[in-house]
């Protein structure tokens, strides 16, 4: 895509969010660099989701400025002023699929909205390959969200988020509620898609494995602002008690050890994952439905 030499995709300065008397963010500043996967961590209630909602214009902050892909979100008067919606994709926590549409039709919604000139055949083809890219089996395309498991719903939500080939991808706790195998597969998928499609990913997570596996940098939310941004070794070098407890607690150590074991033993690149995922999906389809079509 043609976006050479553009500045950082997300720039947040002095953001203040308040619900009544309760301040969520107070002078929060954060910059997301192009082409990185930025993990956002923080204790429950530190306003990670509120931060994401502010960036995508769902939550109007009290003060501060947010610039996404060169456009100011905070100066937008109404929803129509935010004309960069076609350039980002959002995966909400529960998938937020439209329950009356099939997975494929869900993927077509943003396409129809922004590019009404696309023909129906092309829309169906796009929906089908996006769903496959997200690592779902073929038969999931025509299914309703209620027929899918939690992990499949997240993948379907990811397919919809990727429908417009966005530059920016927002993921809100993509691995929450997934089993470890599903979560690891989703991590690999995220990394592979990021590399293939050249995405910038803003990823909210509680999952330490996700941080170690795929995040280029990690931003830590605490005390109503971003207290530190950097790679995990850089964060470990700081002496903020929350960061120390987070990464050096039993779970943090376990995630680091497993990462170290894996890179030491196999050294497998995440880039192979994309090759593996749809193939595996296709294989299972072949086996499970021999008489199909």
């Amino acid at each position: 895509m043609t976006h050479a030499a553009s500045p950082d995709p997300i720039v947040i300065e002095n953001l203040v969010n308040r619900f009544g008397d309760h301040a969520i963010h107070e002078g929060l500043s954060l910059t997301v660099r192009r082409g990185e996967i930025l993990g956002v961590v923080g204790g429950s209630g530190t306003g990670k989701s509120v931060l994401m909602r502010s960036i995508i214009g769902l939550q109007v902050p009290e003060s501060g400025s947010i610039t996404v892909l060169g456009r100011s979100i905070t100066d937008a008067q109404d929803d129509d002023d935010i004309d960069i919606r076609a350039r980002w994709g959002v995966l909400f926590q529960g998938g937020a699929l439209f329950s009356t549409l099939t997975v494929g039709e869900n993927v077509e919604v943003p396409l129809r909205e922004f590019y009404p000139e696309l023909g129906d055949d092309l829309l169906h083809e796009i929906a089908a390959y996006k769903v496959m890219l997200s690592g779902l089996p073929e038969e999931a395309v025509g299914k309703y969200p209620a027929e899918l498991s939690g992990g499949m719903k997240k993948r379907a939500g990811l397919a919809r988020a990727l429908a417009l080939d966005p530059e920016l991808l927002f993921l809100d706790e993509p691995t929450a509620g997934l089993d470890p195998i599903g979560a690891a597969a989703f991590d690999r998928l995220t990394r592979a898609l990021q590399e293939t499609l050249g995405l910038t990913v803003f990823l909210i997570t509680h999952d330490l494995d996700t941080l170690y596996e795929i995040c280029d940098r990690v931003a830590v939310l605490a005390d109503k602002r971003v207290i530190a941004v950097g790679t995990i070794p850089e964060l470990l070098a700081t002496d903020h008690p929350w960061i120390q407890e987070y990464f050096n607690g039993p779970r943090g150590r376990a995630a680091r050890d497993s990462r170290a074991r894996r890179t030491g033993a196999a050294g497998g690149g995440a880039g192979e994952a994309l090759a593996a995922t749809p193939r595996q999906a296709a294989d299972t389809v072949d086996k499970s439905a021999p008489g199909g079509a």
Binding site: A127, A128, V141, A146
Partner: protein
């Protein structure tokens, strides 16, 4: 405007795509390529300025259908084409849909089966409710007093304003329209009989029932339905709390207790409305109208109205709670069940009202 993607056919039979090949620009190109009816020797991408997965898909589809190689692709284009080629799937985006000849009988069959099962379900639900009430009669402490008071307030007290206004206006309409007809016989003084007896026997309770069905019956279905979706009802069961006793009984009791009171209140307001319009338009003084009511409306009319009210309340609450409990899958179902609850409640209320009308005439209370 955006520069569109274009294609041209070269002398050697290769198709050369040019310009930005992205989701925003390929709409017309896709149509042209689909209409293309010529052999394709190769697909050349060297003049493509930008590409995304949609562009890659179109280039790859063209090459696949023609069994032609792709040439001149940039590294980015190759990467994207590689990715989409692996994600190819021949599937229908829409949920499978049967033929018309199959669907219509299936729909009719479903309707019959669901009607029968619905009837069984309602009867079963009524049985469960009676059992729960029996439990509560034996252990009165099981009754959720707070929930009951809350529902009494929601069903009764907060409905006073709207039901009062509605009945007042209905009273005005009956008196005014009745007077116009009765005047033709010089009998406009019978407007009092008309308004008083209609309000007491039929309209007070019936209009109240319709309003309560719309206000509270729908609320019951939506509340319980949403609680089913958020697994609150399952949580109650797991803890050993009966949803029937906690959720359904207070609502049913509230509707049964409040309907007679609201019905009486509505009848009184309708009579006041009739008296007001008679004073203004017919020259019957307000107080005279009220005094005449005492003389021409037998006390039996009051009983006819009030006896029906608790039955109507029970039907409304039952329909609302039953439909709410039936919610299983998704948010859409909550809306559907809520509508169904109101429609069923109003329909059953009117059926029952017709039954009562015949019944009271037969026993000589006409």
């Amino acid at each position: 405007m955006r520069q569109p993607a274009e294609f041209s056919t070269r002398d050697d039979g290769a198709i050369a795509l040019a310009g930005p090949l992205t989701v925003a620009t390929v709409g017309p190109l896709d149509r042209q390529l689909r209409a293309l009816d010529q052999p394709v020797a190769a697909v050349d991408l060297s003049a493509v300025t930008a590409i995304d997965t949609v562009g890659a898909w179109i280039a790859w589809r063209l090459a696949r259908d023609a069994q032609a190689p792709i040439t001149g692709a940039s590294a980015e284009a190759q990467r994207l084409i590689e990715a989409v080629s692996r994600a190819e799937a021949e599937v229908d985006v829409h949920a499978p849909r049967a033929e018309m000849a199959e669907r219509v009988p299936a729909a009719v069959g479903d309707l019959v089966v669901s009607w029968w099962q619905g009837t069984l379900g309602v009867v079963g639900f009524l049985g469960q409710l009676i059992l729960a009430l029996g439990h509560i009669l034996r252990n009165p402490r099981m009754l959720r007093g707070k929930a009951l008071v809350r529902q009494l307030e929601l069903v009764g007290v907060s409905a006073l304003g709207i039901i009062g206004l509605m009945s007042f206006l209905v009273g005005i309409v009956i008196a005014q329209q009745g007077a116009v007809q009765l005047q033709q016989f010089g009998a406009e003084v019978y407007t009092v009989n008309l308004t008083g007896r209609l309000a007491m026997r039929e309209l007070g309770v019936l209009m109240t029932a319709i309003m309560v069905a719309g206000r509270s019956g729908s609320a019951f279905a939506a509340q319980i339905g949403t609680m089913k979706l958020t697994e609150e009802v399952d949580a109650m069961r797991t803890i050993g709390v009966s949803p029937l006793i906690v959720l359904v009984v207070p609502r049913v009791l509230a509707a049964v207790l409040m309907m007679p009171l609201l019905g009486f209140y509505a009848a009184i307001l309708a009579i006041i409305g009739g008296a007001a319009i008679s004073d203004l338009a017919l020259g019957i003084p307000f107080l005279t109208f009220l005094l005449r009511i005492q003389e021409v409306v037998p006390i039996r009319d009051l009983w006819v109205g009030l006896v029906k009210a608790p039955f109507f309340g029970a039907i409304i609450a039952l329909a609302g709670c039953y439909q709410g409990i039936q919610v299983k899958a998704n948010a859409e179902e909550v809306g559907m069940r809520t509508t169904l609850a109101v429609v069923q409640a109003i329909f059953m209320v009117i059926v029952l009202d017709a039954f009562f009308a015949v019944f009271f005439t037969k026993i000589g209370w006409g």
